[in-house]
Amino acid sequence: MKELICIVCPRGCHLHVDDENGYAVSGNSCPRGAAYGKTELINPTRTVTSTVRCENGLYPRCPVKTDRAVPKALLREAARALDGITVKAPIKLGQVILEDVCGSGASFIATRAMPAKAPA
């Protein structure tokens, strides 16, 4: 039996996962918690949020996220994959910045629209 704190919502339920019995989850308040408990023991994953260098934008960086969760073991590598990439503003919300991050199949997408810098 493994004990976990659920991270799918701010509630933070204390989960008990029976890893010797089909990963049955107890202590969860919703089905997402049950799914999390199982995944966390079999193949833990996280959504990665970071930024990408942005040329001529209102700000020098544009925020991005992976469009799906990637294996936890790839977190640091995934964030590093954005090094050296430059995207030119304007950037659209949801625009794909980098595909198939570290072979995970996930893409980094922009999480905001980044307008071009107003001319000085």
Binding site: T51, V52, R53, R61, L82, D83, G84, I85
Partner: protein, 479 residues
Amino acid sequence: MYDVLIVGCGITGAAAAMELSKYDLKVGVLERENDVADGTTKANSAILHAGYDPEPGSLMAKLNVRGVALARELCEKLDVPYDPCGSFVLAFSEEDCRTLETLLARGKQNGVPDLQLLSGEQARALEPNLSEEVKGALYAPTGAICSPWEYALALAETAVKNGAELHLETAVTGLSPTENGWEVATNRGTFQARYVINAAGLAAQAIHEMAAPHTFTIHPARGEYYLLDKSEGTRVSHVIFQCPNENGKGVLVAPTVHGNLIVGPNAQPVAGDDTANTREGLDFVRQTALRSVPSIAFRDAIRNFAGVRAVADTGDFVIGFAAPRFLDLAGICSPGLSAAPAVAEYAVELLGEDGLSLTKKDDFVCERHRTRVKSMTPEEKQALIAKNPAFGRVICRCETVTEGEILEALHAPIPPRSVDGVKRRVNAGMGRCQGGFCGPRVVEILAREFHCSPLDIVQDRAGMWILACETKGGTGHGV
């Protein structure tokens, strides 16, 4: 060849430079930091003392009373925040009441005008938040508060406007006598001067000993402070002292010209310029201050700081020629801020007596103006923004400081080189969020105006880097 080279640009060096710039002389100021007023001048109680404290007959007594009279005039001409709020010394016991009598007598001897003894009730009537324990008070209407760093900056700017040369980041490493003066070695080359003035503050003993035998010792004394939010700024409306003791004037509670409340200092001997805060020191300051004003809400503190006073073992200012053409202005601890312009006058008098030819310039300019958007009327603001939109762009939200004011400071005679340099000139970052919001904006403006990377912008002194590197594989400081 300089006629006079001043070592140090704190309040004393700046005042000396300003005074000398009235005359037809080539004046230079060597300051080891990247800004003026970066030592004791920026970290003290910001009080212009009435002058009842010093022993009658001492240099401190003579120069304090004269100094505060001059300060009043200078602050007005040079647009330095100044408030003649008056001061109280509180008595909590019969013994304290006798001390007040002594201070009153001393003050009269020193020529302090309008001193008055008050009962506890009279004191509380004028200052309602004083403790019920207060038995009496000495009221000095000529006590005042000012912005010490802006005062020093204004004096230094006036000197520069009138031809004095300021060399920042220039540290004196050696002094050798020459046929007609001194050769001054620094990290930025050698300077020749007929006269050298030692206004080096905490380093004054070291500078003195480059030129002359040991005659005095500086015992650095650290004082720790609380600065409280403007919500506490009206807790008192006068400077509130307790009776002085062997450690100095004790813990005071005072409004500041910026609208905050200042509380401190203690007095702790330290080695060199150790301006760290300590838990014990801050606890002492807090507890002692609550004795005077029990209702101070320390939860509204916005900053702690500490300053180190250059206390000489002679018990008085050390002013005089230590070697031919080498004039000490040393041991300038409290009331040094109050005395500064009088110290400068006296220094010039001594130089004159020694043979320095003093011819007044007829084009000496003694005026300065700073745009303070916050204190303008709506109509004035409207007109100013219409003329220059940068004065409508608020950078520091807590203190309502605009980009226009920062740019103005950057084009003044002594422009800031750091984020704190901007803070000392225009108050950005001085407020309750302590630069949390405006810090990044000020870094951005400085980098833009200096045509450099934000990585090169420092907090205050050289070496105080703020940002380590760019994210996403960018460049950075050497690892």
